[in-house]
């Protein structure tokens, strides 16, 4: 059995917890997040013949009052960077967070998901905004925790990246 620690990172209220809730049925209630800043869930993903046990650390979103605790990211194999499509500033925070993680933890696999695709009409983020990031080799998906669109895909993609770390880092280079 392969186990991987995966973190959910993003600005406040981008829908990280909703995405996890859509992906798994968890054990702990949401109040853990506000008390100790993290909530943990688990999901088994089958990748070919290999089963990966993803332990998901859903970290409390960063806002002006609270920074993400970098210690929670220690030992993480990869992370899901979550952006709220309807709030442009969350993309900026995501970019900052990615840089912070890379600085603290190193270049580890991640997938950026632009959430709330069900509210596409209200989106403040356009494809043009995402293009430079895509250009940097970022894996970007659009999804919705509400409709489940893109949720499974983003986790699966991250799982694939986790299982072939060398390849991903090569691609990023």
């Amino acid at each position: 059995m392969i186990q991987k620690k995966v973190c959910m990172i993003g600005a406040f209220a981008t829908g990280k917890t909703s995405l996890v809730a859509r992906f798994v049925k968890g054990l702990y209630s949401d109040k853990y997040q506000t008390t100790i800043g993290v909530k943990i869930d688990k999901k088994q993903v089958a990748l070919g013949e290999q089963t990966i046990n993803m332990v998901l650390w859903d970290i409390y979103g960063e806002d002006e009052f609270q920074n993400i605790k970098m210690s929670y990211l220690r030992g993480t194999a990869g992370y899901l960077l979550v952006v709220d499509g309807t709030r442009r500033e969350t993309l900026e925070i995501a970019v900052q967070l990615q840089a912070k993680v890379e600085k603290n933890i190193g270049p580890i696999p991640f997938v950026l998901i632009v959430n709330k695709f069900d509210l596409q009409a209200e989106w403040e983020i356009s494809d043009e905004d995402l293009a430079p990031l895509q250009h940097r080799g970022w894996s970007i998906l659009k999804g919705s925790a509400k409709t489940a669109q893109g949720v499974e895909d983003s986790f699966l993609q991250l799982a694939q990246m986790l299982m072939a770390p060398k390849l991903t880092s090569l691609a990023q280079a």
């Binding site: 392969i2 186990q3 620690k5 929670y72 220690r74 986790l162």
Partner: protein, 587 residues
């Protein structure tokens, strides 16, 4: 041949050589040439580099291990097929301890739950616990365990320190727990949270989490963390055990932990060390102090109860035996028949038949047993026993014989009455004998009085013997004796004899035999014998003996002169007496 022809032929020759070369190359080729030039690969050359080659290929290609699996599997299968002993011998040192450990753990758990169940199944608390079990829907054993627990390690988690991922975990059989993967991550998060939130000094760690009776002890190592979920209050030794186990894990799996990338299979062996930590302790077992101060009431009560029961049993057996012995003794007595006997709550009841001549059962009890006669209730019905002993007693009572008379009942049914009794008694006894046929004819077929003598007759015989044994001696040639007192005694005896004989209806006579020794003249001797008898007769008459009972007989000289000495001759100078019965007295 012209020049051009020569050239042409030379050209042809060179072309031929080139073609031949070409053909040769085509035929044998470079490979063959190389093969011929290079020597073949020797096995020893390969063996020199084989080990390095394997290491190299393992490092370069992750598939190497996978590639060798079929070969290794086939080799193992082949080995087992050839001789299974080889592999089993090789595995023996591994399998032994592993099996032992597994079995001992299973037995320990079983014994523990059994002991708990047994110890508490009878205690007063058990009823309370049974109620609790019924109320909460838990098993009784579970409730007992919870209530008697000092501590129990319910779950041990080995967590990768960096990632918070679960490496291995073990649980006690009775515990229930949440998803250990999530618990591991959460514990790590909590550790981080505490470290971040409160300014703990570097290197410090969260050692203990407490919630009611639940404790989580955490031991941190360089690569891994051991978290131990404990119910109750564990002793400090457990902490040392945890540290020791964690050190062992690091020693055995240090490199694997350092390069850990999520694959937990290589660390599966750490389970053994974790199982070591699954300890528990229950009240009353190692709690020696309290058990010494306060002996378990249950054990005391049970002990007393057992002692009481065994004592009571021993007493009952003894009492029953004593009673049986007494009943047997009664049954052996003539004239007693025990029909029913029982023994209830310390009192005894006995009923049966008893001949009035039989021994007194109460007396027998006092003399032969330790039974209290007051506690025995007798119910006897009277009956007449035909037992010989009783029959004789009955006859004794009936006949009331004088002490000189004895009654014996022979096997042939002959009652022998022997001894001496007065004629009156003899007459009455004979009368009884004639009339008693009615009730005891079966037992006493015949009465035998032949050995019975009447007292008078007996006296008569005594007197006759005395009378006939006396001898009155005379001096040589004398007709008067010197022994006058003898004559007096003879007179007394004779008078008594005659009196008794008369009572018996007889008239005996005593003959006085006058005798002389053979010396001297025959006629003189006859005269002398006559005078001697007459003299004694006169003397007897003078003593009051009636004349009619006396008769004189002059025997003259007696004995042979030549054969007699002086001492013997003197015997014949005498008067002797003999009694003759003259038949019934003539009235």
């Amino acid at each position: 041949m012209n020049h051009s022809n020569l050239e042409a032929s030379q050209g042809e020759q060179s072309t031929e050589v080139g073609e031949l070369e070409q053909l040769r190359r085509l035929l044998f080729g470079g490979e063959l040439e190389n093969l011929l030039k290079r020597p073949p690969v020797q096995a020893q050359d390969v063996s020199a580099v084989l080990a390095d080659a394997i290491v190299e290929s393992q490092q370069q290609s992750p598939q190497f291990s996978a590639a060798t699996v079929p070969t290794v599997e086939a080799a193992i299968r082949h080995s087992v097929k050839l001789d299974s002993n080889i592999l089993s011998d090789a595995l023996f040192p591994v399998i032994g301890p592993a099996t032992r450990k597994s079995v001992s753990t299973a037995i320990r758990n079983l014994t523990q739950s059994l002991n708990q169940g047994l110890e508490h199944s009878l205690s007063p608390k058990s009823f309370q616990w049974r109620l609790e079990a019924a109320r909460t829907g838990r098993s009784f054993a579970e409730v007992v365990m919870l209530r008697t627990l000092v501590y129990q390690v319910e779950q041990v988690l080995l967590i990768h320190r960096e990632t918070g991922l679960l490496l291995q975990q073990v649980m006690s059989d009775s515990a229930s727990a949440q998803d250990p993967d999530l618990v591991s991550a959460m514990l790590t998060a909590i550790q981080d949270f505490v470290k971040d939130s409160f300014n703990v000094q570097a290197g410090g760690s969260l050692d203990t989490l407490e919630f009611g009776e639940l404790n989580i002890w955490i031991e941190e190592g360089p690569q891994a963390v051991l978290a131990c979920v404990i119910r109750g209050n564990a002793p400090q030794e457990l902490r040392e055990l945890l540290q020791d186990s964690l050190e062992k894990v690091h020693r055995s799996f240090g490199t694997v932990l350092q390069t850990f990338e999520g694959d937990t299979d290589p660390i599966a062996g750490s389970r053994l060390y974790l199982e070591d930590c699954l300890r528990s302790q229950f009240k009353g077992k190692s709690d020696s102090e309290s058990s010494q101060k306060q002996p378990p009431t249950l054990a005391l009560i049970t002990g007393c109860l057992l002692l009481g029961i065994s004592g009571w049993l021993a007493y009952s057996i003894w009492a029953q035996q004593r009673w049986n012995d007494y009943v047997n003794l009664l049954n052996q007595q003539p004239g007693l028949v025990v029909i029913h006997s029982d023994h209830r709550w310390g009192s005894y009841h006995l009923s049966g038949l008893r001949d009035p001549f039989a021994v007194d059962p109460q007396k027998l009890m006092v003399e032969h047993t330790s039974l209290n006669p007051k506690k025995v209730e007798f119910r006897w019905s009277s009956y007449v026993s035909l037992d010989q002993e009783i029959l004789l007693q009955r006859l004794q009572r009936w006949l009331s014989p004088p002490s000189e008379v004895s009654l014996t009942l022979g096997e042939t049914g002959i009652l022998r009455v022997s001894g001496v009794a007065s004629q009156d008694w003899i007459d009455s006894a004979m009368a009884i004998a004639e009339s008693s046929d009615g009730f005891s004819a079966d037992i006493i077929r015949q009465w035998d009085f032949s050995q019975l003598q009447s007292a008078e007759q007996h006296r008569l015989e005594q007197l006759q013997a005395r009378l006939e044994s006396r001898i009155i001696l005379f001096g040589d040639g004398k007709s008067k004796p010197e022994m006058l007192t003898e004559i007096e005694a003879q007179a007394q005896d004779l008078k008594a004899f005659v009196a008794i004989a008369r009572r018996l209806g007889r008239s005996p006579q005593m003959v006085l035999n006058g005798q002389a020794d053979p010396r001297g003249d025959r006629a003189q001797n006859l005269k002398l014998s006559q005078e001697r008898a007459q003299y004694v007769q006169e003397q007897l008459l003078a003593q009051g003996v009636p004349a009619r009972v006396l008769a004189i007989k002059a025997l003259g000289a007696r004995g042979n002169t030549d054969l007699l000495g002086e001492g013997q001759a003197a015997q014949f100078r005498s008067v002797t007496f003999s009694i003759r019965d003259e038949g019934p007295e003539e009235q």
